[in-house]
């Protein structure tokens, strides 16, 4: 069966404010969907509702037919929802390699093993190392994550997500704050991920050139509601998007 990610009437209110307003959307494997919209449109909140950092006021989340709505964030992560964060969210005092190794270990499900030594699991370490190679961070493997440059921290964030080997990849502005020459590493990585053909990829992104390059489909959130959904060219051209979002930047 196809592992489709589905949100149905997904809603969250903070006090009187509706941050995400009855968003219904299905995401297919092999498709990269970009989620765009102005600041405060509810993109990150929508992500938090899908990955479980927030519980909805209403509506449902399904993955591959299984209802995730009332599952905790760790339970959803174990079911294949992988999340990278917009604000850098690492283990600051642990080494770069250990940051990724923890993700590999979570994926392998050996966290409760307290009898063996972590250092003796060379396979997990090697898998973590391979992820660092993909984002060109092996030179910094032993440094604490907190001393990395902003761009390198963003790359590490991506490496952690890749190490989880999820079915659903959720990138929240992966290239935000990166210099122009740092971006290709991350963008190429996402492109290759897309080429593998069986992953659901969601991408919150402000940079329209990135969206045009990577996205198969674009959805637009505005004041928490889904206002447009379609092929990148068609959505970017639509009047509602020009008014809501691109009017400022296009």
């Amino acid at each position: 069966m196809e592992r489709v990610l589905l949100t149905r009437d997904l809603t969250i209110r903070f006090g009187g404010q509706v941050a995400v307003d009855r968003v219904s959307c299905a995401f297919q494997p092999g498709t990269l969907t970009a989620i765009v919209g102005p600041n405060g449109a509810g993109k990150t909140t929508y992500f938090n509702l899908i990955s479980g950092q927030l519980r909805p006021s209403g509506g449902e989340v399904f993955l591959g037919g299984a209802r995730l709505t009332h599952m905790s964030a760790p339970a959803r992560a174990r079911r294949g929802l992988g999340r990278a964060f917009q604000l850098t969210n690492l283990f600051p005092d642990l080494s770069v390699l250990e940051n990724v190794r923890l993700a590999v270990q979570a994926q392998a499900g050996t966290g409760l093993d307290f009898l063996s030594m972590a250092a003796s699991h060379a396979d997990l370490r090697d898998r973590a190392w391979a992820q660092l190679e993909r984002v060109a961070l092996t030179a910094r493997a032993a440094t604490p994550a907190s001393v990395l440059s902003h761009g390198d921290q963003r790359k590490l964030e991506v490496a952690i997500l890749m190490a989880l080997e999820p079915d659903v990849f959720m990138f929240d502005e992966p290239t935000a704050g990166m210099s122009v020459d740092e971006m290709p590493v991350v963008l190429d990585l996402i492109e290759r991920l897309k080429a593998s053909g069986d992953k659901i990829i969601l991408l919150v992104e402000h940079k329209m050139d990135v969206v045009r390059r990577l996205a198969d489909r674009v959805i637009v959130l505005h004041n928490g509601a889904l206002v447009a959904d379609g092929e990148p060219a068609e959505v970017v051209a639509s009047a509602i998007v020009r008014e809501a979002y691109l009017g400022v930047s296009a």
């Binding site: 999340r83 690492l90 250990e98 923890l102 009898l115 972590a118």
Partner: protein, 356 residues
């Protein structure tokens, strides 16, 4: 040590101090014979275990609990109560120790499960309440715990001072039951410390550090943070209880003041912070330092030469501060000085310097 856990103190000076501590504890009965020195040595060994178990919570998992003495006390009473009632010798020590550890681990994990979902500060308050409640219970349940007076009990003959293992003294020192008790405590403490060292270096231990660093992110990776915190609390409680059982053997007495007082809780905190949180070796050094201060600072002040007190001008000013009962003041000064020189604790700061 490498095949056991691969963990090292992380700095030549720290390694030297740890080895010195170990050598001193092993050689102690022959170098400084007598009840007082062995009493201090045994206390150090026991507090190394107690402080290290607290480090699993505070340093590795980032949990601030004030109930650690409760589990220490459970282990102590679990050995004392059957022995005081004359329910056998070795088997009640063994069973009592085991039962105490299981009880303490279960209770510790249960408190964590019930209250770690709330904010960290509320968890600390809950543990404070639990500690007060335990003190109240220990002093009120006279039939079981002996109330404020505590329980005095006899150990199996082989562990009493009257017992002679060898007819002739070894290296000029009598090999008696007191020495056997000392080495029993030292051996068990060493095994427990190595076991904890192994646990914090296991895949499980790594997750605890991840939770300390960023619990939110650990959840997003799929780790059930509440489960891990509860298990860490259970382990720490269990090890604290084992230290408590050793303490009962050492003192041949258990009372609320000796195992449950807040002074002990404060001492544990000091040991972990001075030694370096999240290093395990650090709290071991901290334990040695604090226990030695408790025993010898007062003596040192007593033996301060009279000439210092008789100095003109300085004498009347400094004299009262050097009175033996002012030793706590000097402990405070020492603490401030160490924290100032080693902001991340002794081992923690040494490791940082090595890395930099």
């Amino acid at each position: 040590m490498k095949p056991l856990s691969g963990d090292r103190p992380g700095h030549p000076a720290a390694t030297a101090l740890i080895l010195l501590l170990l050598a001193a504890l092993v050689a102690l009965p022959f170098v400084l014979p007598g009840a007082r020195a062995m009493g201090t040595g045994g206390r150090i060994a026991i507090f190394v275990v107690l402080a290290a178990s607290y480090d699993i919570l505070l340093g590795y998992t980032g949990i601030v609990s004030f109930a650690h003495t409760v589990f220490f006390a459970i282990g102590a009473y679990a050995v004392a109560i059957p022995l005081a009632r004359g329910w056998g010798g070795w088997e009640s020590i063994l069973l009592g120790t085991l039962a105490g550890a299981v009880c303490a681990a279960t209770l510790s994990a249960a408190i964590a499960l019930l209250s770690l979902r709330v904010r960290a500060i509320f968890f600390s308050m809950v543990t404070l309440a639990a500690a007060s409640l335990a003190q109240l219970l220990a002093s009120q349940m006279r039939d079981v715990t002996g109330g404020e007076d505590g329980i005095t009990f006899a150990l199996p003959p082989a562990l009493t001072p009257a017992f002679r293992l060898l007819a002739e003294p070894l290296f000029g020192t009598r090999v008696d039951g007191r020495m056997l008790t000392y080495y029993l405590i030292l051996a068990v403490a060493l095994i427990l410390f190595l076991a904890m060292l192994r646990i914090v270096n296991s895949p499980f231990g790594r997750v605890l550090q991840a939770i300390r660093e960023n619990a939110f992110r650990a959840e997003a990776l799929g780790y059930r943070v509440v489960t891990y915190r509860a298990l860490a609390s259970g382990l720490a409680g269990g090890f604290a209880a084992l230290a408590g059982s050793l303490f009962a053997l050492q003192l041949r007495y258990v009372g609320p003041d000796s195992v449950l007082s807040f002074d002990i809780m404060v001492d544990i905190l000091l040991m972990v912070v001075i030694g370096g949180m999240g290093t395990l070796f650090g709290p071991a050094l901290g334990a040695a330092l604090i226990v030695m201060c408790h025993t010898y600072l007062q003596l040192a002040l007593q033996s301060m030469p009279q000439t210092v007190r008789d100095l003109p001008l300085i004498g009347p000013l400094v004299g009262p501060l050097l009175a033996p009962d002012r030793w706590l003041l000097w402990l405070g000064v020492l603490f401030v000085a160490i924290v100032y020189a080693f902001p991340a604790g002794i081992v923690g700061t040494l490791r940082q310097r090595r890395r930099a």
